[in-house]
Symmetry: C2
Subunit: 440 residues, 2 copies
């Protein structure tokens, strides 16, 4: 297979600034957002760095990134407090004075006034930026960023000896707050960058999503496909699911589509039974689509998952078309009162049992007058495990017009939240399989 030549791609690096990231106090969701956005406009990113609120280390990370990349994006450190150092560090790095922008100050003041708050003097800091940089406006918060073409400034440094005359060096700074960063990206940065990119090819990819097969089993089924150079096929694992990314760089969508489609076909031949969807599909969106197409409804009675399955099914916009009513029956009394679970079953087999799961599923179907009733009862921990029924024992039942089955899951040795998540995964996937296999 011919390897595509990649011409004049812009290379980016992202520097995430904030001691809270190095201490593990927040999850770096900005990395996901920016990485996806860069890939979608064909900008490669080979390194990402996390650095704390320390001037020397921030500037050292600027130096390393500028040596390797054409575009340096930072998040964090734009606020009014004294540990917000990003803008100052850029000014110091290029030995440029900070200039004061009255218009920015007025905009910040107006934001405070609109929220009926008085702007404290510390916010004056937000109106300063390095000479020759431009404002990157923040429509969702008070701290703006900067857009700075530092090509000439960088060329003047000793580090730039090997710099191609066509190369650019660009700096963009964003705040760490995801909502503000997203708004700034969408309203200003993406247009600005699209104009800067002199590239013909973009990265295209498609993801296939699997359930019920592990990474290594999947890799074995597909062995030679994982070694391809174009398109590449890469396995990914997260939240109990396995995905395969088929990626290629192409001039346009049609070219990419043709290349990806032929690989997808080969993958489907080898592992179709485990594929539940693609790209933005989730188990709950696929179930939702099937229910909507069949004009059927589902009601869920949850015990150990406490509302998680209901929450996931209703994450989907438009889910009110097939979800009318769900119950969280945590206590035995509520299982009896609303779902007609019998006291005999509760006494003879316990609340965590096949019998109770089946009665709950039949009960919720009857109560909600839906096509399908689903029920979950189990021990999510950390309390409540016994020798017979250790933490992680879960019964899952689904009842339809001509369907009535129960499954036992053993999800031991995991955290409460992993047991609850795993249960929801199994429940939603099972509903999917039943809907697919059901004759229409």
């Amino acid at each position: 297979m011919t390897k595509l030549v990649i011409i004049n791609f812009m290379k980016a690096e992202i520097i995430f600034i904030g001691t809270e990231l190095l201490l593990g106090q927040i999850l770096n969701t900005n990395a996901v957002f920016l990485s996806k956005e860069l890939a979608s406009i064909g900008i490669d990113c080979y390194y990402q760095t996390v650095v704390g609120d320390n001037k020397d280390r921030i500037k050292a990370s600027f130096r390393a990134a500028l040596e390797r990349a054409d575009l340096v994006i930072t998040t964090g450190g734009l606020g009014p407090t004294s540990d917000d150092l990003t803008i100052e560090c850029w000014a110091e790095f290029f030995e440029k004075p900070m200039i004061f922008d009255e218009a920015v100050l007025q905009a910040v003041k107006a934001r405070f006034a609109k929220a009926n708050k008085i702007m404290s003097p510390s916010n004056t800091k937000l109106a300063y930026r390095p000479e020759s940089s431009l404002v990157l406006p923040n429509p969702a918060g008070s701290a703006p960023g900067i857009i700075w073409d530092v090509t000439e400034l960088y060329r003047a440094t000793s580090k730039a000896k090997g710099l191609n005359v066509n190369s650019k060096k660009l700096v963009l700074t964003f705040p760490g707050v995801p909502r503000e960063m997203h708004a700034m990206w969408k309203e200003t940065a993406i247009d600005f960058l699209s104009k800067e990119i002199h590239t013909a090819k973009k990265l295209f990819y498609k993801e296939l999503k699997f359930f019920g097969i592990g990474e290594s089993s999947l890799a074995e089924r597909l062995q030679n496909l994982l070694d391809l150079e174009d398109p590449t096929v890469a396995p990914l694992v997260s939240e109990g699911e396995c995905r395969l990314r088929i990626a290629t760089k192409a001039l346009n969508q049609e070219e990419a589509f043709t290349k990806i489609e032929s690989i997808e076909k080969q993958i489907r031949e080898k592992a179709q039974e485990f594929i539940y969807g693609q790209d933005s599909d989730t188990l709950e969106s696929v179930v939702g689509k099937l229910l909507f197409e069949k004009q059927q409804t589902l009601a869920v009675a949850e015990s150990c998952t406490g509302g998680l399955i209901s929450k996931r099914l209703t994450d989907i916009s438009g889910s009110s078309r097939y979800i009318k009513f769900n119950l969280v029956t945590y206590s035995n009394e509520s299982k009896q009162k609303f779902l007609n679970v019998t006291s005999q079953s509760l006494e003879s087999f316990g609340a965590v049992s096949e019998q109770v799961a089946l009665e709950m599923a039949a009960g919720i179907k009857e109560l909600a007058k839906t096509n399908w009733g689903m029920a979950v009862t189990g021990i999510a921990g950390t309390e409540g495990g016994t020798e017979d029924k250790p933490v992680g024992t879960v019964y899952l039942a689904i009842v339809g017009e001509n369907f009535k089955e129960v499954k036992k899951l053993q999800l031991g040795n995991r955290s409460r939240s992993d047991i609850r998540w795993g249960t929801a995964q199994e429940a939603i996937n099972w509903m999917r399989q039943i809907l697919l296999s059901e004759k229409n």
Copy 2:
């Protein structure tokens, strides 16, 4: 205030290996886990790097990390597939041959046998590691890591000119799968590292958690406290909440406690009304604790949040003591049938209205026979908004024995999931405030 002298701390860097991270396909939860763990045993981490599955770039990141740190930890790239390059890269970096370990191969085979699976030949790769490195066993998966003391090897390179004779250079590799990485860390790595650390001081910190105040307003209330050098006080923002971290390095918990306590007292004097908890507290755990202490119960009827509030309240182990039964009433019919919402209210004011929210809250309290009834009805989007009631309009009601109130929220301009999350935050926090203000 005297600045503490920090003696002989071990410095670490983490390199996260995987093109999927650079493409934004997975969230780097390993960063949170490892960062917290390193901080808890007093190991500083000044930089973290993300790099793709590319040998040259992986080795370049090894070089940079070894120059700056004593301990280099990697995640990812340990599996059997051809894009798993970490171990090979370490061997190539130090120009050491790979050795084959029969015992590792037998352990991998045994894992497959136990799961009634046949081991494919590709897994033989897992039994190779660089000469002179040790196995870092993986109790939760088939791919082990390595522990490698490379002090002498690194000293022999030109990069090591300035290396202190007491310095060590250690390498630890982990898989990217969080569950496996956690197990390897807990069973082997933490003990190994604890023995290697010749430090008297550890990092201690306490977090105070705030609701209803933004970062900049909080910073203004506390201005001089944020400039302290020891303990440091740093504001953090995530998921609509603001936290303050008070951190210090100390010889023992008592010393740290004394230093942190005096700062905490000053913070509480300035912003007590916004503090809902500390450290691992969440809004739902605090509400749970209050309900448990008062021996009261709560039932929730959710419309637009679809089970999220119920899910969050039952995230807490032991929540069955105060949560017996919750409802997700997505359809108007279910609001009428189970909660006695009147058709007059639905017709005159619509399902998203003060009146319906109050009737739902009273209805769920009556139905579940609890001390408190909470209800949420709103428009989470992306569909369903009107000019009068745009997406993000939410009514929140709470009814108790002697309490009956409703609140309107406007959470516009956000995603469906942010509107649902924000609604749950406001609802749970309001319950907390009511429980606190209620006379016992």
